[in-house]
Amino acid sequence: MNPILNEATTPALSNNTAKVTERYVHIEDVGMQFVTKKGTFEALKNINLSITQGEFVSIIGHSGCGKSTVLNLIAGLLQPTTGNLFCAGREIAAPGPERAVVFQNHSLLPWLSCYENVYLAVERVFGSETKVQQEARAYAALELVGLSHAVEKRPNEISGGMKQRVGIARALAMEPKVLLLDEPFGALDALTRAGLQDELMRIMQKSGATAVMVTHDVDEAVLLSDKIVMMTNGPSAGIGEILEVDLPYPRKRLELAENVQYNHLRSEVLKFLYERHAKKVA
């Protein structure tokens, strides 16, 4: 068995039996202003959100409303202008490996092989383990995303979908408490995207980690999430509505296509985006 699955599964199981931590990721009255040449720009206003441990949350909204900003705040890459963010009861002060990020553009280092890209993360998080153990982790993570055959390849020698999978492997190899994904499949074709969504769903089911994913794709949001956070348009964007998705797992995309509840949820999101908060095309 590969170590990732073993270790990641254990805490999730024990949490199911024990009391699940609510407010694991907690966003409190957060506002975000950017200082630009033309003056300050208020991107986010009054954001309040609580995420339970093990939950999969999607953030959906029109382009430029501030989805990435929310994710970067949770990652610690940005500091809020007002309000506070907490993770596991602690204030988020800086980025850290317990909150791994899958970047929108994969952000692999082009001079390192896929394996080395993943190993860089493993080495940092599991530095106390032996080299053999660390290597096993890196290989296991790549195996998990089905890339055992491409470990020695450089990022520019593999396809876009494969790069994205390496990015996911890198994040998973860190065994993060919270996985942050910024439009992880945005740049991929529909077929590849569907395959990776299924893979991600399977992995998240097994690991039981908390996840926050930014997306543009309504189907993706409904398929993967426990909760969909719908954002209003910026400037001064906020959370418009939060939709609970209580479809049972495992979710199969073909069966869901005819599921009444699935289609209801889907149209709820569509109504929010295209009726109540339609974006005027300039």
Binding site: L77, G96, P97, R99, V101, F103, S107, L120, A121, R124
Partner: protein
């Protein structure tokens, strides 16, 4: 020491010449951070492109390959012939200027025993070239040792960049040979002074290119470093250094070019041994063919240094 007998006019000319050429190179440093704009390479690449293109469209005919070969070869050959023609013409107009043929005979004789050694002032051209190259290697090596780490610090830390900016902007435009008297004064000897001049004039492209490269490391990569919480050492070895390497190699190439330009001029003032000294010495001894040979030798070695480093840079590129 014969070389010290230069009059002031000469000195001025040399200084100005060295200044303009080095200035334009320094400008190039910033503008052409990554470009390969060697004329030779352009020609070679164009020729290669042409061969490829036509090889693709009509792959069958051997004849086409031959015409392509001539297309690639004829213009440069034509250029060289024209150059030789103008040179011959000029040497007929002004009989004191040696023509191509007498220069060629003189070169054949000169290069038949490049490593002879009669006295310190009379040694083979091979020795002179080697001692020039050695000075360049020393001065340039020191400059790289100081310049590259300095560039890293300037690119990485805002504070370092603001701190060094005023000093660098004042020192960088100084003509290389203006540093020579200072070197002679402080070091007391011609040899170290020449190395000092090379050091101080070839350090800037490496500092600036490295710093520009480091400051351009994409934010995405730095975000990865932040999320992984990488140590400063890991950030340098795994992210900054590989990213900056191509920039750095451009700096190194420009620096070597400057070092080679400067050494010839410095040796003319300095005396001792070296190709620049030899050139001046032959002028004083009225061996005019040798002056022209020296010019070609300097040019060809400069070209070889440039090509060698370009090849090295290509090997270091990660894509």
């Amino acid at each position: 020491m014969s070389a010290i007998s230069i009059n002031k006019e000469h000195l001025k000319l040399i200084l100005e010449d060295a200044k303009t050429s080095s200035e334009s190179i320094v400008k190039e440093t910033v503008l052409a951070a990554n470009e390969d704009n060697t004329h030779m390479q352009m020609i070679v690449e164009k020729a290669a492109e042409k061969t490829q293109k036509s090889a693709k469209s009509q792959p069958s005919a051997m004849q086409i390959k031959i015409t392509d070969f001539f297309k690639a070869v004829i213009p440069p050959v034509f250029g060289i012939l024209m150059f030789l023609g103008i040179w011959t013409l000029l040497s007929h107009q002004q009989p004191i200027l040696p023509g191509p043929i007498s220069t060629w005979h003189s070169a054949v004789e000169l290069f038949s025993h490049p490593f002879h050694q009669n006295s310190l002032d009379d040694q083979g051209i091979g020795w002179n070239i080697l001692s020039s190259l050695q000075r360049v290697a020393f001065g340039f090596g020191l400059a790289a040792l100081v310049g590259i780490p300095l560039g890293f610090m300037i690119g990485r830390y805002e504070f370092m960049s603001s701190m060094t900016a005023p000093v660098i902007s004042i020192l960088r435009p100084v003509s290389p040979l203006a540093w020579l008297p200072l070197g002679l004064l402080v070091m007391g000897a011609a040899g170290p002074a020449a190395i000092w001049v090379i050091f101080i004039s070839s350090i800037w492209p490496m500092v600036i290119n490295t710093a520009v490269g480091v400051s351009k490391v994409p934010q995405d990569y730095m975000n990865v470093a932040k999320v992984l919480n990488l140590s400063e050492w890991k950030i340098i070895t795994k992210i900054s250094f590989p990213y900056v390497l191509p920039y750095m190699m451009t700096g190194v190439r420009l620096s070597i070019g400057i070092a080679w330009l400067v050494i010839v001029a410095a040796e003319m003032l300095n005396g001792g041994a070296g190709i620049g000294f030899w050139l001046w010495d032959e002028y004083n001894a009225s061996n005019y063919e040798h002056i022209i040979i020296a010019i070609f030798v300097v040019g060809i070695i400069g070209l070889l240094l440039e090509l060698g480093l370009s090849m090295l840079a290509k090997r270091f590129a990660y894509e």
